[in-house]
């Protein structure tokens, strides 16, 4: 009995957290319902929640919703994979080499200042309207948070620990693998989470402009056809899927950090 007690307490705490987290969404839902039925907005401007649920049913029934979700997810994952790998590589280079940092940092910071939508016309011009420009844009979006956190983390590793590595005969890859990389792991993981979130942001920018499928397309298409219910549905789906992705990475993160004895971080 005494052994199960702490677990029971943990479960209660977890239940409390979920309940508290649900308060604001439920409140939003209630206000939405009230605003839609009070006549302040027309049904075309703000359909009630029930209509959005009906739209969800309709699209699931026609089987097209999965298509949109699948293609968007695929674009995000492909772009995130490319962008985060480049972010790790360049962030690692800039974080570890003073010279590389001096050469690359000004340029990368300048490119970073370009808003996501500014890339779209150029990417369409150069890469056509297929999958490539969308994946590239997502990769650009995922790159910067990963690059920034990784380069900053590697540049600020406790020099005492690096010295231990050197004193005990580690250099080059040995030093990277036993001291630098493990020391930067927490920052790298949070950089990956930020990168994935930003990947979703850039995806919508890509799909808004030139696409025939995906959640961003659903947004622009619903605007053209006056289907505000589908528009709201797409926005809610983006929120839910984005949160889901972040939660998955959060769980991976806390597992990894817990295994390395550095406590857990919230998911």
């Amino acid at each position: 009995m005494t052994l199960t007690a702490p677990k029971a307490v943990a479960n209660v705490q977890k239940g409390r957290r979920v309940a508290l987290g649900a308060v604001v969404p439920l409140l939003v839902l209630a206000v939405w319902q009230w605003a839609a039925s009070s006549g302040v907005y027309s049904a075309a401007q703000l359909p009630p929640p029930a209509e959005v649920v009906a739209a969800l049913r309709e699209m699931v029934g026609r089987g097209e919703l999965w298509h949109h979700i699948a293609i968007s997810t695929q674009r995000v994952l492909a772009g995130f994979a490319i962008g985060s790998l480049m972010g790790l590589a360049l962030g690692g280079l800039v974080g570890l080499s003073r010279t590389a940092s001096d050469v690359l940092t000004p340029t990368i910071q300048a490119i970073r200042a370009v808003p996501s939508l500014a890339w779209v016309p150029l990417l369409l011009l150069w890469l056509g309207i297929g999958e490539t420009p969308k994946i590239v844009l997502v990769a650009i979006g995922a790159f910067f948070p990963v690059y920034t956190t990784v380069s900053a983390a590697l540049a600020h590793i406790d020099p005492h620990l690096v010295e231990v590595g050197r004193a005990y005969g580690r250099k080059g890859l040995g030093l990277l693998g036993t001291v630098l990389f493990p020391a930067a792991t927490p920052a790298i993981l949070s950089g990956l989470r930020l990168g994935l979130a930003q990947g979703w942001l850039f995806l919508v920018a890509a799909e808004l402009i030139a696409s025939s499928m995906g959640l961003g397309f659903l947004l622009i298409d619903s605007q053209n056809t006056g289907r505000t219910d589908i528009m709201l549905l797409a926005i809610i789906l983006l929120a839910v899927i984005g949160k889901l992705c972040d939660t998955v990475l959060g769980v991976v993160e806390s597992r990894l950090l817990h295994n390395s004895g550095r406590g857990t971080s919230s998911g």
Partner: protein, 262 residues
Amino acid sequence: MYSAVSAVPLTLDGVGKAFTADGRRRAVLAGVSLEVAAGEVVALLGPSGCGKSTLLRLACGLDTPGEGSVRVGGRVVSGIEPRCAVVFQEPRLLPWRTVEKNVAYGLPRGTTGEKAWQEVAHWLEVVGLAAFARHRPRQISGGMAQRAALARALARRPGVLLLDEPFAALDALTRLRMQDLLAEVQSAAGTTVLLVTHDVDEALHLADRVVLLGVPEGGEAASVRSVREVPGARPRDRGDAELAALRVALLGELGVHTPVRL
């Protein structure tokens, strides 16, 4: 089973080192010559900032001397010297590794598998941390962490063990226990030890010879001011009268004067 460490001599020959800060060159050490015999324990004593730690970093290859040479076992040190192991003032354990994996970090290259774990278990036993092998550094006390750091250095089976004020950050009681542990381990392993300290009692308790570093009058860089043999075999009695006299003399050279009672 655990072959004794093959202790090697450490030789400093006219060693000098200068650092440049804000465009100004500042000499820290000049003309330091010192011969530490194999298996000998030498304490480096001196006021803070006199270059004691710099000298130790030169000995293990973390820094390179501007002039003169450092030899370990007759071979000139260039780059990190594999026959040296360092214990720093702070434990500097890798926080993501368990205590035993931190100790394993010190193993010489090529020690793997069963042999590696036997070595680690042995050194954990020696420093009394066998029960804490799976703990993380943040789960153990400062004294235990410093013991783990000592085990990490010993796991390297160093010909020369370099200790940079290893007990300075510990509380008084833990420090005394650590000194006894070090004396015990040293006499069992027989390794050469260069101990940097600012604690005269620690130097007298542990060392065969005490080397006083300091800046000569009118000079800028520190060099060897005096070398004194510590009488009596180790382990020494902390209350010995002859040591007390030596203590007063050393403190006097460091500028701390003991009032004369009539």
